[in-house]
């Protein structure tokens, strides 16, 4: 019998049963196929290991002191960065939070340095509770958002199928037709930010939709840009600059919010780069209003 093809072996390494009994027999006796499978399984294991479960030893404070001295770093960096964790006395640490997702697809790194500030802030002391890195909460939020996506999409689908459009809701005043809120998202701060707010999707009497974003003020280095992002993190759409309070953004008729349920407000440097800066201020996921 001929060797198993690499597609089958790859799916098996990922835990999908993909073999007929004859193929399984072949695998049992073919060292080439079983060798390939073992190597692919090792790769999958490494890719999916949960770093939070692996205990690491912590280097002693004299290491940073030696590095600091050898490189002639400034006095403000003299404190051992490891002691900033508020975990004095702990001899082990874990290698990472149990974030199931790695930094997402659409937020590509820029090609020039723009965010030195966030690196500094990321090192600021946490109080009491175990702190995560600057990016951690963001990706945790991303993961959470991705997790709810199936639910949100189902709600949206149900909404559409049942035709419970705004017309079925409270009847608008005949003189001044009011927009009807059809979905909303609380906006939670990310990373080093504290701004909170809310995003509403409103449907106007003429059937067009708009996104209304309200976000409390906070210190930022650039300008604020509003995005909607897909659950699998592969797509994002910019809706524009958030200037006044609240910001109102027309939603293109063809934009399916079930595909882009995550509302994100980013801090964008004035650098002419139209890509997302990877520096998000606040984020939330849309849920349909009943």
């Amino acid at each position: 019998m001929k060797h198993l093809d690499d597609e089958q072996l790859s799916l098996m390494a990922l835990g999908e049963p993909a073999l007929t009994p004859a193929e399984a027999d072949h695998l049992a006796f073919c060292s080439e196929c079983s060798g390939t499978l073992a190597a692919l399984e090792r790769t999958v294991r490494a890719a999916t290991v949960d770093p939070a479960r692996v205990e690491l030893a912590t280097p002693g404070p004299r290491n940073w002191a030696a590095i600091h001295q050898a490189l002639g770093l400034s006095p403000e960096q003299a404190e051992d960065p490891l002691s900033r964790q508020g975990a004095a006395g702990s001899t082990t640490t874990t290698a990472g939070s149990a974030t199931p997702l790695t930094p997402p697809t659409p937020l590509r790194p820029r090609t020039e340095g723009t965010a030195a500030g966030s690196a500094g802030e990321a090192g600021s002391a946490g109080s009491g509770s175990p702190r995560t890195g600057a990016g951690a909460r963001r990706w945790v939020a991303m993961a959470a958002a991705a997790g709810i996506v199936v639910g949100a999409a189902a709600v949206w689908a149900g909404y559409n199928v049942l035709g419970q459009g705004p017309q079925a809701g409270p009847s608008p005043s005949p003189t001044a037709p009011q927009p009807v809120v059809i979905a909303q998202a609380p906006l939670q701060p990310l990373a080093s930010y504290t701004s909170t707010g809310k995003a509403l999707v409103e449907e106007l009497p003429d059937g067009t939709r708009q996104l209304v974003v309200q976000l409390s003020d906070g210190q930022i280095s650039g300008f604020r840009e509003v995005w909607v992002i897909s659950p699998d993190l592969s797509k994002l759409v910019s809706l524009g600059v958030l200037d006044g309070e609240p910001g109102v953004f027309a939603l293109p008729a063809g934009l399916d919010l079930a595909e882009y349920p995550i509302v994100d407000v980013s801090n964008e440097p004035f650098d002419g780069n139209p890509a997302h800066s990877s520096d998000s201020i606040a984020r939330g996921e849309l849920a349909a209003e009943n």
Binding site: N63, L82, T93, A98, L101, A122, S278
Partner: protein, 191 residues
């Protein structure tokens, strides 16, 4: 107990490091020195040798930051590479020293210590390397592999989630996995 891991890495840190911000070096140390130290401790078995490697890695990294390109590699993966080199240098130096000691008839006992299981620590380092490779795959390969790895979806489910033909998903999985495997094997040979 403090989740200060390399897995929630912000690309902004890469750029801050490359442009010489000391705070970025400190943050890299905070997040990655336990991994660097533990890898060294597992390979070398002595705290003092692991201390030396840890210092060497961050000193070497900072001094050669001009050659670090954030577009090409994320800082954690780059530091893991430097760590593997530094450990291998330390092992060769020890081998030379032990040959001399054997020749002189005096074999010095060391203060070997047990740390976490080597395989686990290696897997954490490997995951850092693989995450970078995952980034390089581009879409839709990256989205496909993330769904397979982290959401445990079958290729069938991925195909309908991303609305891609089954055959396309399968061949992307095959090619991506094989590329990641190669990346790991090359990385280990180099060390």
């Amino acid at each position: 107990m403090t989740p200060a891991g390399p897995h929630d890495w912000d690309a902004a840190l890469d750029h801050a490091f490359a442009s010489g911000k000391e705070a970025a070096l400190a943050e890299a140390y905070r997040r990655l020195s336990p991994l660097v130290y533990t890898l060294a401790l597992r390979s070398l078995g002595e705290r003092s040798a692991a201390d030396d490697v840890t210092q060497e890695v961050f000193i070497r990294a900072w001094k050669s930051r001009a050659s670090y390109r954030p577009e090409a590699a994320r800082l954690p993966a780059w530091l893991v590479g430097i760590t593997r080199n530094a450990i291998s240098d330390a092992l060769s130096a020890r081998m030379r020293r032990q040959e001399l000691e054997h020749a002189a008839g005096q074999f010095v006992g060391d203060d070997r210590v047990a740390g976490p299981p080597a395989a686990d620590v290696e897997a954490v380092a490997d995951r850092i390397t693989l995450e970078e490779e995952l980034d390089r795959l581009g879409d839709p390969q990256k989205a496909i592999m993330k769904l397979a790895f982290y959401e445990d979806l079958t290729h069938d489910q991925i195909s309908s989630r991303l609305q891609l033909p089954l055959g396309t998903v399968k061949s992307h999985i095959r090619r991506s996995l094989s590329r990641m495997r190669t990346r790991l094997e090359v990385g280990h040979e180099a060390s």
